[in-house]
């Protein structure tokens, strides 16, 4: 019997989210360091080091060009790794999902709660990074503050993509495939460290059609530099549609895996 495509959700989703939130703050000392450290390392190495050779890109200094991309990458990584390795460990090794569905919670709510939590991780990390980048003066305030609410939406997109992989992976080691074959190329080829316009036309089209990070970078860069890209509206629409689609798909795939 195929599971229903419409998720069975109630307000109880927040109790799943809250469980992960509580765990996160139990171990905050290991959780808060990366978002502080990462942007500083990249800014110094790439922005100052490499940037001194690069000069301006599209009329902005290199360090200001990559600053919003660093936030976009953090949005991607936080949710993606939370909802692949993190969720897989909770599902398979810790049997947390099993404990939860023995209560009135539905499996749909467990998965939705996990993804909302993944999005929250993106939101937390992006917010911290934004503060640091603002302090160094490489993003434009106040418009850049809009990245804070947007990071949750962008996080939900990657949480959904991640959860689809988690739903179909045979084991935890196979999660390395999407991490290396999908996340790493995106990290480099989504207009992050150089503009997509230098790539051949078909590659550009591919990036805009299929690489989610491209749209996240377009949006964060538009907000951080107060220069809306001509593709801004398209990117917002792309992110909205795909986020909804992968949310529904991941819940469906997870039910197919777990409701047996």
């Amino acid at each position: 019997m195929a599971p229903s495509l419409m998720p069975d959700l109630s307000r109880a989703v927040w109790t799943v989210w809250r469980r992960n939130w509580d765990v996160f703050f139990k171990t905050y000392h290991v959780n808060f360091l990366p978002p502080f450290l990462e942007p500083v390392l990249y800014l110094v190495a790439l922005g100052i080091g490499l940037g001194s050779f690069v000069g301006d890109i599209e009329g902005v200094p290199y360090i200001r060009f990559i600053a919003p991309a660093l936030i976009a990458i953090s949005i991607m990584n936080s949710a993606f790794f939370e909802c692949t390795y993190g969720s897989f460990v909770r599902m398979y090794y810790m049997k947390t999902f099993e404990a939860m569905v023995a209560t009135p919670l539905s499996i749909d709510e467990v998965i939705a709660g996990e993804m909302l939590w993944g999005a929250t991780r993106s939101w937390i990390n992006a917010s911290i990074m934004l503060c640091i980048l603002a302090a160094v003066g490489v993003v434009d305030l106040p418009l850049a503050l809009a990245i804070i609410p947007f990071s949750f939406v962008g996080g939900l997109l990657f949480a959904g993509i991640a959860m689809c992989f988690t739903a179909i992976t045979p084991g935890i080691d196979e999660l390395n495939y999407p991490a290396f074959l999908f996340i790493t190329p995106m990290f480099l080829f989504s207009g992050t460290f150089f503009p997509l316009s230098v790539l051949p036309g078909p590659v550009q089209a591919f990036a805009y059609a299929l690489l989610p990070l491209t749209h996240i970078v377009t949006i964060t860069r538009s907000l951080a530099l107060s220069q809306p890209s001509p593709l801004f509206a398209f990117s917002i629409a792309w992110v909205t549609v795909v986020t909804i689609a992968v949310f529904l798909l991941s819940v469906y795939l997870m039910k197919r895996r777990l409701v047996v």
């Binding site: 109790t15 404990a99 023995a102």
Partner: protein
């Protein structure tokens, strides 16, 4: 007043592809009783539990829990169930107290009420001293007791336990049994699976023995022993003379390794005749147990 059964299963079936894990079983569990599922590994016990818990949809037949259909109203049913899983799935990052509080949130129990209940439950399972200790510092027995407490946070109408004392030392097992008997005395309905036959004999009012997805027998433990084995077992060395003797007496027996086990309601007479006429070497007389019934019905071969 005769209350309706808490669980009614009628030709309940679960198939995976061509394999029937549960092959059309029928049983019912009365309120306020302890009902056991026994059987070797792979018999279909856990699958049956999962269907009752509304986490595994049935493939055929009817199932009714608290008068409701698990396929239609899983949330209602789960609200009234307490589940102790076979594998420990507590949250390792949390203390005992926090584990139960987080769990009670899943049931939507208001925080203040939950906190009161959690303190009571920690006392009930003798873990008050460990209230603020993380799970990783608990012994196996403590973890099982905490799982029992967790299963009680929603004041369930029925408790489901899958192998409640697996891997515990004798002290911890006895403490667990004591708690389960207290719960039964308080009028709780308890459904458990076990392959410890001593456990089933001590705890269960009624039980079924399953094998290959089917129910082989159902009854009260004492009644099953009486029906299938008789009251006592006489064990003697496996010698041709002994076997000839038993054949002559018309006593039912089993050959187990280098011993012969004779089932009889009159062990003294069988032992006396063995000694007098057939030089049996060592002879033991013992009470027949559920284990003898189990081995009779499911065979002595390894199941896996």
């Amino acid at each position: 007043m005769h209350p309706d059964p808490v669980i009614i299963a009628d030709r309940l079936k679960k198939t995976y592809g061509d394999i029937a894990a549960v092959d059309g079983i029928s049983f019912s569990v009365e309120a306020g009783t302890v009902f056991g599922f026994l059987g070797p590994n792979g018999a279909g016990k856990t699958t049956t539990m999962r269907m009752i818990q509304c986490v595994s949809p049935r493939s055929g037949g009817d199932l009714c829990v608290f008068g409701l259909d698990p396929a239609e109203q899983p949330r209602m049913i789960k609200q009234w169930l307490g589940v102790v899983p076979q594998e420990t799935n507590l949250d390792p990052e949390f203390t005992c107290f926090e584990n139960l509080m987080v769990y009670s949130r899943y049931f939507g129990i208001p925080k203040r009420e939950a906190a009161e209940r959690v303190e009571e439950l920690l006392a009930f399972v003798a873990l008050t001293e460990k209230r603020d200790v993380k799970i990783e510092h608990l012994s196996g027995g403590m973890k099982r007791r905490l799982l029992l407490a967790r299963a009680l946070v929603n004041q369930p109408r029925m408790l489901i336990l899958d192998e409640p004392t697996i891997g515990l030392d004798p002290q911890a097992r006895h403490l667990m049994w004591e708690k389960l008997r207290e719960l039964r005395a308080a009028g709780n309905t308890i459904v458990l699976t076990t392959h410890y036959l001593e456990e089933a004999e001590r705890l269960c009012d009624r039980l079924v023995i399953m094998d290959n997805g089917a129910i082989l027998v159902e009854g009260a433990p004492g009644e099953l022993v009486e029906r299938y084995v008789g009251s006592d077992i006489v064990e003697a060395e496996r010698k041709p003379e002994v076997i000839a003797c038993l054949d002559e007496m018309g006593v039912r027996y089993d050959i187990v390794g280098d011993m012969v086990e004779a089932m009889t309601p009159d062990p003294r007479e069988v032992a006396r005749r063995l000694f007098e006429t057939c030089n049996p070497g060592r002879v033991f007389v013992r009470r027949a147990t559920l284990e003898d019934v189990f081995l009779q019905l499911t065979g002595r071969n390894l199941k896996e």
